[in-house]
């Protein structure tokens, strides 16, 4: 028999970026809140302190901050014909674990989507006609517009502490910013960070080619800063242990630096770690949730936690898994197109060029997770989809972010992978290579989706979630187009050696190399209950007191890293809860 605890106004599932946002905003309404986090507790002090954090083996390679597959993982297959096999050790994507979630060890590249990306189906239809949409692509509009979300993007950027320069301030295009971005109501909270040597070489080449370079917008403090919750950040010192690490000096934007210390001081907020939510419990009529059942690791027992509102903020993949297990919607069937849970799982289409300069000193260990100069000249709103034969685009970036030698040792093709030739190669080339990356959009397709695995189970006996995913021609064509544009630019920089890695037509999804943790979709937003799992306020269509946060809401993925949109949507959702839902709990659409 499960233990039952005292009822709360709100239970939050997962205390990462979005759980922290929901926690502080709803706590400020005076609600009694409990956040349940499956992982360990962790704070800047003592957990991220210098020098313990500067450990590539422990965090960069053995991934001690990440979700442990022994506790939770998925199975993966590339098509319906393949048998899904477990993702046994982490590779392609690295979901976070513990307080702060992936928000503690992300890179801090903070982007807003382009306005066109949130109404992509309409944008395509208006400009080229629906007939250019390939068969099998589930292209959609988000049921919320850029203009509606703009204040919430701005607010998230203030809370997170983002450094950058506006390129479009209320419609006015500004020198040095990104001229192709959506309008901003305000300048960035902090000025851009300094430019490293590789970035400056890239910037010069872009200017010479007539492109529009700008400093990446970064969740990395460039100055001393105090955010709206009174949290302080200090300027980053380019320590180079950023992605996959907690920041040891309050410079990287994270739930810890931006929210949690303020939240933990509120008497009506409590959080429990080592508490893994197993399912959301529904009332008999199935129209509301009564609370959640979780596994209390310390007590080694199941606990039923009743609550009036349930916030799912456990990261996209975990949210979808919980929703499938809890009956918070019907599983998507790609053959019939019915059902919504697991629909439109999407990812990111990336490629890049490495450039080697024998005589240049790049000091690749001097950097931060969001370092770099970018261009958006080949982004979604710049590409002529009709002429190019694909829908999508990418942003390019060049900047040192990790010179850690176990994982970051680019060598010219033909260098042996071991032996005397390898040793000579690392001595010759370490520190003399730079790269340009293309970070591209990924559309949603009928045959990329999530459901429950028929074979494999977790330690609680629950079926693992099954991911059916492979690269699709539309996005691969987009990638090849970026290659065709990037190679001439790279060549104009006159490297001694250069080489590209861009997936081409026929590429199969390989779960081993790290790609991104930008796993999107699966509980998508929609105009009607037939098309998606949540409405425009990210309230589940199934149970009106369950709200889902995170990139699982994405209709299809954008060309950018997701967290700017994830954070904006989280503030949009809590605003709806505060101003529309609390006074009259009901379906808001």
């Amino acid at each position: 028999m499960a233990r039952q605890d005292k009822k709360r106004d709100v239970v939050i599932v997962g205390l990462g970026w979005t759980g922290s946002i929901a926690g502080i905003e709803l706590a400020r309404e005076g609600l009694d809140i409990l956040a349940l986090e499956r992982g360990h507790d962790q704070a800047t002090v003592p957990d991220f302190k210098y020098p313990n954090q500067i450990d590539e083996l422990k965090y960069g390679v053995r991934l001690k901050m990440m979700q442990k597959p022994s506790r939770q993982t998925v199975t993966v297959r590339r098509s319906g014909d393949e048998t899904a096999l477990p993702y046994r050790s982490l590779g392609s994507f690295l979901p976070g674990n513990g307080v702060g979630g992936a928000g503690t060890h992300w890179n801090g590249l903070n982007w807003r989507p382009q306005p066109e990306e949130l109404r992509l189906r309409s944008y395509v239809a208006e400009n080229w006609g629906e007939e250019i949409i390939p068969e099998g692509m589930n292209l959609g509009d988000y049921p919320v517009s850029y203009d509606e979300l703009e204040p919430f993007f701005t607010h998230f950027e203030k809370v997170a502490g983002i450094s950058g320069k506006a390129g479009n301030l209320k419609g006015e295009i500004r020198e040095g910013g990104n001229p192709f971005e959506g309008w901003r109501s305000e300048e960035f909270p902090m000025p851009p960070l300094p430019t490293t040597y590789d970035s400056s070489k890239f910037r010069d080449a872009c200017l010479a080619a007539g492109y529009h370079p700008f400093q990446a917008s970064a969740g990395i403090a460039s100055t001393a800063y105090v955010n709206p919750y009174g949290m302080q950040m200090g300027p980053c010192n380019f320590c180079g242990f950023c992605e996959r690490y907690g920041c040891y000096q309050y410079s990287k934007s994270s739930p810890q630096t931006a929210i949690l210390d303020a939240l933990k001081r509120m008497p009506n907020f409590e959080y429990r770690t080592e508490s893994e939510v197993l399912r959301v419990e529904l009332a008999e009529d199935g129209k509301t949730a009564t609370g959640v059942t979780y596994w209390d690791e310390a007590a080694q027992e199941e606990v039923f936690q009743p609550a009036d509102i349930v916030i799912l903020s456990s990261f996209s993949l975990n949210n979808v898994h919980l929703m499938l297990l809890s009956g918070l919607g019907e599983a998507y069937d790609p053959l019939t197109g019915t059902g919504t849970l697991g629909k439109n799982y999407a990812y990111q289409m990336n490629g890049g060029v490495s450039l080697f300069f024998e005589d240049a000193e790049f000091n690749p260990f001097v950097g931060h997770g969001a370092n770099g100069v970018c261009i958006d000249d080949f982004s979604v709103n710049q590409n002529d989809f009709g002429a190019l034969g694909f829908i999508g685009g990418s942003y390019w970036r060049s900047g040192t972010f990790n010179g850690q030698p176990i994982r970051s040792m680019p060598l010219p093709k033909g260098t042996p992978s071991w032996g005397a030739g390898w040793k000579e190669g690392i001595g010759k080339w370490y520190g003399h290579a730079m790269s340009i990356g293309s970070h591209g959009s990924h559309m949603a397709y009928a045959n990329n989706h999530l459901d429950l695995d028929p074979t494999y189970t977790d330690r609680h006996g629950r079926p693992l979630m099954r991911m059916t995913f492979n690269w699709q021609d539309n996005d691969l064509k987009m990638n090849q187009y970026q290659k065709s544009r990037m190679e001439p630019l790279a060549a104009s920089m006159n490297p001694d050696v250069m080489q590209s890695s861009f997936k081409g037509i026929g590429a199969q999804y390989d779960v081993r190399p790290y790609q991104t943790t930008h796993n999107t979709g699966g509980h998508i937003m929609s105009e009607t209950a037939r098309e998606g799992a949540v409405n425009r306020y990210c309230q589940t269509w199934k149970a009106h007191n369950v709200f889902a946060m995170g990139a699982g809401n994405f209709v299809q993925n954008t060309q950018y890293n997701p967290t700017g949109l994830v954070g904006g949507l989280a503030y949009w959702t809590v605003q709806a809860i505060r101003t529309q839902y609390l006074s009259n709990p009901r379906p808001l659409v």
Partner: protein, 233 residues
């Protein structure tokens, strides 16, 4: 932000931590340099590996990163010690991994780790199997071959030309990855002895404070590495 009474001042902490960092490059102790030299590899008592396995790991890593030429080899970096300690720990036992069956060891490599073996189990089963192949093909166990024959055997192993059971197929990739990890990881894990590998390529280790460096373009960073425990080289 107003600091709450009774709570440590965040502002105070920021100051302290910045000061601590400024010192980190110079103030950390040099004790490690005076410390006893570590036990020589031929007298090292492995935690996990058997004597035959140890001989294999010594011989194989010595070919993967040879001693000749500039920079340390795997032996000077004490990579075999690193591998032994990793296999004895929670990496060896795959504690963090999902190891529940059924296993499809014949799955293509791009499906990820699908063998039922843990890394420690993989070394245990693959070494005798590979040694047996070496004996059959080259006339002796791997450790007893000359350098040229060892390189040929490792090349065959890498290319999948050594007929091994499917459960053993990740062996070469795992051995090579572990060897490079031991070469470049912080010395507290047993390899990268004296931070020689970092010195060789010019990686400053755990310095991790470069506030004035982003805008020093095309200037080589001049300081040698420090380790997590404060050794300098």
């Amino acid at each position: 932000m107003t600091d709450l009474p009774g709570y440590p001042s965040r502002r105070g902490f920021l100051k302290v931590s910045a000061a601590g960092l400024a010192l980190s490059g110079v103030a950390l102790d040099a004790k490690a340099q005076d410390a006893q030299p570590p036990v020589p590899l031929d007298r090292y008592e492995p935690e996990y590996l058997t004597a035959d396995e140890w001989a294999f790991v010594m011989a194989a890593t010595a070919r993967l990163i040879p001693s000749e030429g500039d920079g340390p080899g795997a032996i000077e970096a004490r990579v075999p010690v690193f591998i032994d300690l990793q296999l004895a720990g929670d990496y060896g036992t795959a504690d963090d991994w999902y190891m529940v069956g059924p296993h499809d060891a014949e799955a293509a490599p791009d499906r990820g780790w699908q063998t039922p073996l843990t890394p420690a189990g993989l070394y245990r089963e693959a070494i005798p199997a590979f040694d047996a192949w070496c004996a059959e093909t080259h006339g002796a166990a791997f450790a007893a071959l000359d350098g040229q024959a060892q390189d040929a055997a490792l090349t065959a192993l890498q290319k999948g030309e050594v007929p091994l059971a499917p459960e053993l197929s990740p062996f070469f990739a795992t051995l090579l990855a572990n060897t490079k990890e031991g070469y470049f990881a912080d010395p507290m894990y047993g390899g990268n002895h004296g931070m020689q590998s970092w010195v060789y390529i010019g990686f400053p280790g755990a310095r991790a404070a470069f506030r004035e460096w982003p805008e020093r373009h095309n200037v080589k960073y001049p300081l040698g590495p420090v380790s997590i425990k404060g050794e300098r080289a």
